[in-house]
């Protein structure tokens, strides 16, 4: 039993660190550090930068343009990425639809879609959830009816993250309604969003951000060749993906960054006042969060080590999403608390680049602590709520 890294792994880490410190677009790191939202162009630019470096797809097989990294390398990469506050990969293309296409798609689909995903020429979004369906994916209503050489798609997808920027959407749709098990009528379709009948309507979240959308399909024609795999197997494909997508689900690297940043801030003194770090009660809470973080990190490392040695992820990996989101929300709460009255101003504008310094509110404080706290309420809801996660663990891990 040991948690040390090999010489090769350490060399890899040095390489990654060098890249982020010297080659990654500095203006994007600066925006991230100051919580300035990235533009669509920013996102495209840095993903293309990763492609140039050959690091666009840590999870993909090497022959398809992936990095061929071991689980430990992926962990080290994510850690370094978060350490400088570099944004995490947009997951919909490279982490989600990509693996489904190369695992279940046709040769033609692979050639048609994978290169653009890798180079970030197309922006993908995800069409799983529907209004009113929430975590109960199997009850979805969007229909795709076969009509000659195409499907006609009608329905609405909801909570579509960054759908306003997307070129393509991958969807779970209902292709049959006359089977006993609701899951078996579901298929996996790739849909071009730049066509008549597709409309995108913003959903503003509680922090005022337009981050998710409703995507409506009104008699949208989708060629049959955009079906991935077999008709009626969409549910299975989606589930396979979820089971393999454990790395990084805990958000350890990101929480590590947030917590160390918060700790650094507690040491600052505003106008000569005693810094928060002198407050034993607050520092106990930080320490407790650090314990949670370390536990989470080692639970993830246990999973990685298991996968690295060729085994399946152990049952402990099932807790990563719940524990990870709870920790993230706990850190948000601490940051909120640290800001006290200065968490109250709702001044999103002042985090946009070039905001005039003399108009800025809240010296020495992070007024966006509340926005992060509010926005992150979603992490325990989206992507299968924590209640659903607990149901799954109860059933599949504990056998209840």
């Amino acid at each position: 039993m040991n948690a040390t890294f090999t010489a090769d792994e350490l060399a890899f880490r040095t390489e990654v660190r060098h890249f982020f410190e010297n080659e990654f677009p500095g203006d994007i790191l600066e925006k991230q550090t100051n919580a300035v939202p990235l533009t669509r162009d920013d996102v495209v630019r840095w993903h293309k930068k990763m492609f140039e470096k050959g690091w666009a797809a840590p999870n993909w097989p090497q022959e398809l343009g992936g990095t061929g990294w071991s689980p430990v390398q992926k962990y080290l990469f994510a850690d370094e990425q978060a350490r400088v506050s570099a944004p995490p990969f947009l997951s919909f293309g490279v982490s989600m639809v990509g693996p489904i296409i190369y695992t279940f798609g046709s040769e033609e689909q692979k050639q048609r879609f994978l290169p653009d995903i890798l180079q970030f020429n197309t922006w993908w979004c995800q069409g799983y959830s529907e209004p009113g369906a929430g975590s109960d994916l199997a009850s979805l209503k969007t229909r795709a009816d076969r009509n000659g050489d195409h499907y006609v798609v009608n329905g609405t997808k909801s909570w579509t993250t960054l759908g306003q920027y997307a070129d393509w959407i991958f969807c779970l749709v209902r292709t049959s309604s006359d089977v006993a098990r609701r899951q078996e009528g579901i298929s996996f379709l790739l849909i071009d969003m730049n066509q008549p009948g597709v409309s995108v309507k913003p959903i503003v979240l509680l922090d005022g951000e337009h981050e998710v959308n409703e995507v409506h399909f009104d008699n949208v024609k989708v060629p049959l060749e955009n079906l991935v795999g077999e008709e009626g197997k969409g549910w299975t494909y989606g589930k396979v993906l979820l089971q393999h997508e454990r790395t990084g689900i805990a958000g350890v690297a990101d929480s590590k960054y947030r917590l160390s940043r918060l700790k650094a801030r507690t040491a600052l003194s505003i106008r000569g006042a005693t810094p928060l770090s002198a407050d034993r009660i607050f520092m106990r809470k930080i320490a407790a969060a650090e314990v949670e973080l370390k536990a989470l990190e080692y639970t993830e490392l246990r999973t990685l080590a298991s996968v690295a040695s060729g085994k399946a992820p152990g049952p402990e990996s099932s807790i990563l999403k719940i524990a990870g989101t709870e920790l993230r929300q706990a850190i948000d709460s601490l940051r909120l608390e640290a800001s006290a009255y200065y968490a109250l101003p709702y001044v999103r504008d002042q985090y946009v680049a070039d905001f005039p310094e003399d108009k800025r509110i809240g010296e020495g404080t992070e007024t966006n602590a509340s926005l992060t706290y509010f926005n992150d309420r979603k992490v325990s809801i989206f992507g299968g709520s924590n209640e659903i996660q607990k149901n799954i663990i109860a059933k599949h891990v504990l056998g209840l």
């Binding site: 006290a340 009255y341 101003p345």
Partner: protein
Amino acid sequence: MDFSLNDVQSMLADSIEKFIANDYDFKARQKYSESKTGYSQDVWQTFSELGWTAVPFREEDGGFDGGPVEMTVVMERFGRGLIVEPYLANIVLAGGVLRRAANETQKSEWLSPIIAGELQATLAFVEPQARYDISNIATTAAQDGDRWSINGRKGYVLNGGNADLLIVPARTAGGQSDYEGITLFGIGSELAGVSFRDYQTIDGQRAAEIDFSDVTLSSDKVIGEVNKGYQSLQAAISDATLAVSAEAIGIMSVLTEKTIEYSKSRVQFGVPISSFQALQHRMVEMYTACEQSRSLMMWAAMAIADGNDESESALHALKYQIGTAGTRVGEEAVQIHGGMGVTWELDVAHYFKRLTAINLMFGNADWHLDRLAATTAS
């Protein structure tokens, strides 16, 4: 021992409930909140006409002679209605200082028009370095004969951008955190040297960061005695602590009720989510949190009304409870509402945000628990 409202209190409660039911739905609230001033002057006039702005003031000052119980009656209902009108800034904070410390001239110049809804006022008690310590005041006032000169910065001045009158505690003697040496000034917002950065707050209200740069005042703008301002300041903050706690209880109750209703209508896996036992138990805990908080509010209001020696502890206990139970209720309401709970569109998120804001004001849970622990130990 009697926990029911008397006739006058019941009438007050009814009139507010009726107003909210008829004239203040969520859509209206959002419209007022998003307007330039962040509230409706028409609504404010109605508050004044209905006598609500007069509640805490003495009859001889044109008031209703209400005490802490009446204040909780008003604020709990304002919480339920998610009212954005600047009651806290005008009536509780500025009014709380003026009714205690202002002289007759100042009362007729300032307090009467506040009650009439004609003058907007506020208390600028937050400084960037002070966190929840209201005696930590770096803003200075220097005397030169009959004139005073004010310099400094106040953050999070509620209603600051709308205010005609700013009540400003400034340091006139002593160390930066001393109770002695704080003097209260009534400063017209139009004066030279007063500059504003007005902003919206996370809970849909408005506040401002205000700089004072060599603002010159005559001595008749001193409210109360020179160097002796702490007591009135502290009393107004205590009033406000009780007021926002009552508001929070109104909000917590609404969130609990809305969550229960939502769970009955929301179908997942073919059944309403209200049938899931894990959620049922969590809603029972929300309900319990509301009722226990309400009990503490009653204790605090009655202890303060009595002037008994528990009144300080009761207020700490209440705000500590709001900070812990309120956070739990707010977060659970959002979580159980699922995706809908995190949208701007639904009122639930806005109740939650107001509750969050209240937890950040006048001392958070830890701050109040610390004060209780200090009393407990001694």
